[in-house]
Symmetry: C2
Subunit: 406 residues, 2 copies
Amino acid sequence: MISYAQAANIVSFPPPQRTLMGPGPSDIHPRVIKALGQPVIGHLDPACVAMMDELKALLRYAFQTENALTFAVSGPGSVGMETCFVNLVEPGDKVVVCRNGVFGGRMIENVQRAGGTAVVVEDAWGEPVDPQKLEEALKQHPDAKLVAFVHAETSTGVQSDAAALAALARAHGCLTIADTVTSLGGTPVLLDAWGIDASYSGSQKCLSCTPGLSPVSFSDRAVARIKARKSKVQSWFMDLNLVLEYWGGATKRTYHHTAPVNSLYALHEALVMLAEEGLENAWARHRNNHLALKAGLEAMGLKFLVREEARLPQLNAVHVPEGVADAEVRTRLLTEYNLEIGAGLGPLAGKVWRFGLMGYSSRPENVMLCLAALESVLAGSGYALTAGAAAAAARDAYAAQGTVAA
Amino acid sequence: MISYAQAANIVSFPPPQRTLMGPGPSDIHPRVIKALGQPVIGHLDPACVAMMDELKALLRYAFQTENALTFAVSGPGSVGMETCFVNLVEPGDKVVVCRNGVFGGRMIENVQRAGGTAVVVEDAWGEPVDPQKLEEALKQHPDAKLVAFVHAETSTGVQSDAAALAALARAHGCLTIADTVTSLGGTPVLLDAWGIDASYSGSQKCLSCTPGLSPVSFSDRAVARIKARKSKVQSWFMDLNLVLEYWGGATKRTYHHTAPVNSLYALHEALVMLAEEGLENAWARHRNNHLALKAGLEAMGLKFLVREEARLPQLNAVHVPEGVADAEVRTRLLTEYNLEIGAGLGPLAGKVWRFGLMGYSSRPENVMLCLAALESVLAGSGYALTAGAAAAAARDAYAAQGTVAA
């Protein structure tokens, strides 16, 4: 027996109570936490099957789709992404991937590992995908079978014109994969109206559920292509031909894997809450809190990375002011205010902060806390600002909306 | 906008309160449920990183290993299985897979989808893997690189001699992959003493945590082989070269995916509880409750599928008696007693019942409830038995152990 020494001093873990204003996870509503902690039942229990059927209907509402194959992958968003690519890419397939941040780069990895060839349409980090560049690529590569892009780039806070990109793809005979990890529930995602064929999201962003699930949806055209594959899907776990018999329609459920039952309870409750609020109201709430945060950040002299018309309200990336130590500010916000904000990724590491206003985190009290804490920390690091200006600007923004700041 | 009609009648989901005595998930202890519902924190929060480091130490204790690369995959056991295969199998590799149930069959699928060739050593469902057959296969295939087997077959309740199988593999220059999904925490799993190179388990069996995580461990020899691969791992998400930089040692953590933070809290607590109880005590508890259940089932005239010396105490498969309707009995147990037991899988569908006594489900009160409920339902379906005999036999078994039945 290996002694217990290495584990001996380990006791129950009490997490700190943070306010989460980074790029996810976001704060979880008490109702969702309560749902998470309900008694576990078997994943083949008729009650569980009924709950999973409701979850599919709720996800169709969130994605604005009639797609039959709409469910939650039992893994984080990266598994949802990989599920889309390994099912829709066959060895030798040419895929046009639009890259304007971290997640476009990860799509290229996915295409290549599935045996496909990626044609990359590049845009600068912080810029939306340029439809003209996509069109040129499609003209140059008439044999492309698939177009993949990120609707809402979590690494920069930029939003691309998904409707325009999907229309171009369709005009050139391609199916589309859209990453909606950061957009779903926070800003319009209209799969059917836009003609998106496959999309994956995450549970822990604007849905404000516990991290670990990836809502996905596939059009009938996508399902037809998957069923007509010449080669087996390289992943057993992600093979939708097998998953269909588990999450699928009216037929008897075939055992595939043990679903993460408690997490599904939580997602169900988060989606019931989204349906109660209504998508349009949720989008408006994200927009309104963004406008107040923006007014406050700008009153402190901070500059956004992304130009106004392409900004995501739920993910606000601003430049770290010159002379201010990025990591020190974030550490002080975390240790002194229990406030998490996001750092920059890749080429933006050390250069931007990312303020998330996602799901249950998108509340006036979070906006006001964040502005006050940031002002205090920045003032302490010698950055010149007018005390109270940020809060006043945010309050004005809320007043203009007819909202009272917390 | 697609109307809300389809989701309109969906309200919060209140799961029934079941007693889980199937093949998993098992009942979850209130302490673990409480941990699950703690406030979410960021996955890159220093507090989260420290918790994940503790989790690695706790898992090393559970697996009885010093392996540095020991962590929880952010997905169910099937993803843990696939992580082992896609990292250790390269295209063209020959892998000896021992199949004596459902999960050996799934291993073959994994080998083939990773581009390997599976040499299958077959044993009957309900029989342990025969080491002699493995040795013959290894002699016939001196170019084999890997041996894979299921330590504890969840589909039958049989246990194979992992030490003997791993020793043979090593003698023939092969690495080993062992499925310990159902054994970890319930019956001895001694990775280092046995010389296992890679193993995956599940959170929802004898660890009694919420389903959705897969504890895994890899020996230094396995890691060396993964680092020396000629080809990229086909899965981006499961590529251990990338995961290492996230769950790995002392170096700075690189963002890979958003860990399922709440589920990790729950696993941490479940493992703290296992360490408090002590592995040997947990194994003895599983054994003692098995002996009482066995005495009761046999007093009802039920016959085990697996011969005594190869039985898993935590998973008891018995033949459905002739003339008794399998599904009807299970449905009545569920609807009248809120008691879940498992059905047979594959060729055993309709032919066996599987009674799980895993983790927190392995308690005298569950044994006594199960025997009483089963006796009542069987008597109602015309099966001949002596009322009260099962409970008396179980009580005698507990008395012989010095335990008082609930």
